[in-house]
């Protein structure tokens, strides 16, 4: 076998749950430590080695100028960068601020918001640097994480399914909660990966793996509404852990418009495409 790849686990704004997923792989953890060289994983080890890294697993979203700089450095040091989880992939639940009055948000939590340097937005890693692979989920799924690690160890390009949550739901024999009980469920427009847990626990999927490929959100939300949810609540339903994913963000804004309470996206994000692409170019020089 060739040299073990070096692995770094890095964190930005997040709850630590996605990196914990690695520590929660109790049966595989010691094997992972054999298969890869863990060179930076602050949550698990005091030995923090500098880059370059073969693989960086990145958790969390970018919410402070300092984090943005840390990320740029990490990208420069990493060959293959994988975002793990909804925060890194879509901005996380904290991206709700992108649609709100940030100053007011800060004031409601901190008496002296001026002590804290923070961006008014929470943006995914891909808004700042090139991302090589995304692992969805809030939190990510252990099996998917191990699959990605195994693929990278073997030198294969990782791959995860893009099917909808409904498919594992049906394969595990769960009775559809929408059809049998009129429970609101985002399964049909959400990417699979979690194992379709929620419907198996008698509740609707809340979309923590983010939008599926080509989701038909207008049809989905029309169904939510015809099944009794009001338009504003349907918008809120899409605005959780992947609120800033393009598909959910776009549809929730449309719904707020209909509900007569249009939300304002933070001005800096209006041009995000711009800064995004120029950023990627900068990184590739």
């Amino acid at each position: 076998m060739t040299k073990r790849p070096t692995l770094a686990v890095m964190k930005f704004a997040s709850c630590d749950g996605c990196q914990l997923t690695l520590l929660d792989a109790e049966d595989e953890l010691l094997a992972v430590a054999e298969a890869v060289h863990i060179s930076h994983f602050a949550e698990a080890s005091s030995r923090l080695e500098p880059g370059p890294y073969d693989v960086a697993l990145v958790e969390g979203s970018i919410t402070t100028p300092e984090d943005r700089h840390r990320l740029l450095k990490l990208r420069a040091e990493s060959k293959f960068l994988v975002t793990i989880g909804a925060c890194a992939t879509a901005g996380g639940v904290q991206a709700l601020r992108n649609f709100a009055d940030h100053q007011e948000f800060m004031r409601s939590v901190y008496a002296r918001p001026d002590y804290i340097e923070t961006l008014a937005t929470s943006t995914p890693i891909s808004s700042h640097v090139k991302v090589d692979f995304e692992l969805r989920g809030c939190p990510i799924d252990k099996h998917q994480l191990l699959e990605v690690i195994a693929s990278l160890v073997a030198g294969h390009r990782p791959r995860t399914s893009t099917e909808s949550v409904c498919q594992p739901c049906k394969r595990r024999g769960t009775v559809c909660v929408v059809v049998a009980r009129r429970v609101p469920c985002l399964g049909p427009v959400t990417q699979a990966g979690c194992g379709s847990i929620c419907p198996a626990y008698d509740r609707g999927c809340y979309g923590c793996f983010g939008p599926s490929h080509q989701p038909n959100l207008p049809s989905m939300t029309q169904r939510l509404v015809s099944n009794g949810m009001d338009t504003a609540d349907s918008a809120l339903f899409l605005q959780s852990f992947n609120t800033y994913s393009p598909a959910f963000s776009h549809e929730s804004q449309r719904l707020w418009q209909i509900a007569g309470r249009p939300q304002k996206l933070h001005p800096s994000l209006m041009t995000v495409e711009h800064s995004h692409s120029s950023q990627m170019e900068a990184d590739h020089d």
Binding site: A150, S151, A154, G155, H156, R157, R159
Partner: protein
Amino acid sequence: MITTQDNPKIVANPWLSHSVVIDAIQQEIESVATYQMRFVDSHVAQGYRFQPGQFNMLYIPGCGESAISHSGPPSLDGNKIVHTIRFVGRVTDAIAKLRVGDRLGVRGPFGTAWPMDRCKGRDVIVVAGGIGLAPLRPALYSFMENRDDFGRVVLLYGSRSPELLLYAEELESWKERGIEIQVTVDRATESWQGAVGVVPLLLDRLAGLKPNFTEVVMCGPEVMMHYSALSAIKRNIPKESIWLSIERNMQCAVGLCGHCQLGPVFVCRQGPVFRYDAIENLLKVRDF
């Protein structure tokens, strides 16, 4: 034409792959290489036969399978399996990392073959685009090995640019063995002396064509095949004499998984080689 449908029932695990070992690797052009492999189990090797146009499923455990056509002489058994592979994604990139002596899995052969019997005694126009020359090479070898059984054999071959011409050195020797060859490229380089333009143009201009004594066999991008078929028809070649090999997603290769459907046909079983009139209408439907 042989289809697996004509065979007696096979109640064996269709997924069972056999170990092969790589004996030689020849880098052809950028991102394309030819592999020569042999079944590790000598019984399997001796019992293995294929027809030009048929394909194997190559398997890298832990990564996946890819459908790859035979590109070697059809006289060979399972001690010398030849595949020319373009590296385009997960599985083929993993194949690219293999070295002589490494092992992988192979199951096959699957699918229909080029109409070699029908070609006997007739002229044959071989139309190839890019990597599409690989699946046609076994047929070309057959023509050369049994040169007297066939009439005029013309190869019309196009690629995007001169560096991307597959089997460039071999082409010269084929000429010596009685194959007329015309080559065209989409984009010429300074040193390029040959034709520039798309393959169908070569067919439009081909001299001495005897429409009723000709079979056309083609493989390449679907658009290229579409226009080449139109050119052939314009030149009065009957649809029943036009053959093409097409690509679809394949998982099982034996008609059980559903992936390769093109309307009513299973490409793995009734194809990949089809007579043009059998799928003409299907290919015209966008996204079908």
